[in-house]
Point group: C2
Chain length 91, copies 2
DNA sequence: AATACAATTAACAATTAAGTTAATTGTTAA
DNA sequence: TTAACAATTAACTTAATTGTTAATTGTATT
């Protein structure tokens, strides 16, 4: 389910932009919301999809929930693509 | 539309498997169909999505249409991921 | 306890995606 | 031209995704 979840999560422009925002460092859900025109509920669901894909981690701090990037699962995509390109073995 | 199309195309297991099949070399639509349980029409639509994403190229040869892999658009994903991981500039 | 605030979850509407069968387009060969 | 075959496109159904508003959960403050 790893690669499938990861690619599905990345196949949405809002979710990719959320990841890009988190590149600079952790942000609260509210911080993230302010960058988009969609509602907080919509952003929250996008965050849930990213969390299920393990592309982000969350931790509560008081009444805020901080989200931060986790890029480790991207290795799997890199590997899959590299293999497809034939740099793997039987090229 | 490049990255969006590419990621959307990759976010389906059948389409990824089609690409993997084509890694070994060009195949006809019929050849590809034989590897799946879904109908030829369904495979044909998957091929159309992959073609729109420019992940495959097609050429007709007699009554067969051959499909072959085009991995060049994958560079864009590699770049995007690399940048996200911070190997880009301001890490 | 009551209020306020951050964020998520629930319930629903609208859009998009994926699958099916049936019809159509190309191409070859009788 | 007609028949046969490869493959796509059309029409339709169903399932999944995305968005909205309203209700709920969790935490801090008064």
């Amino acid at each position: 389910m790893g690669l499938q979840n990861t690619l599905r999560a990345l196949a949405d422009p809002i979710r990719r932009e959320i990841l890009s925002l988190l590149k600079a460092g952790p942000l609260t859900a509210g911080d993230i919301c302010r960058h988009f025109t969609v509602t907080a509920a919509a952003v929250s669901r996008h965050l849930a999809v990213l969390r299920e894909a393990d592309l982000i981690r969350d931790r509560r701090e008081g009444k805020f929930i901080y989200y931060e990037l986790n890029t480790s699962v991207l290795e799997e995509i890199m590997f899959w693509i590299t293999e497809l390109k034939g740099d793997g073995d039987d090229a």
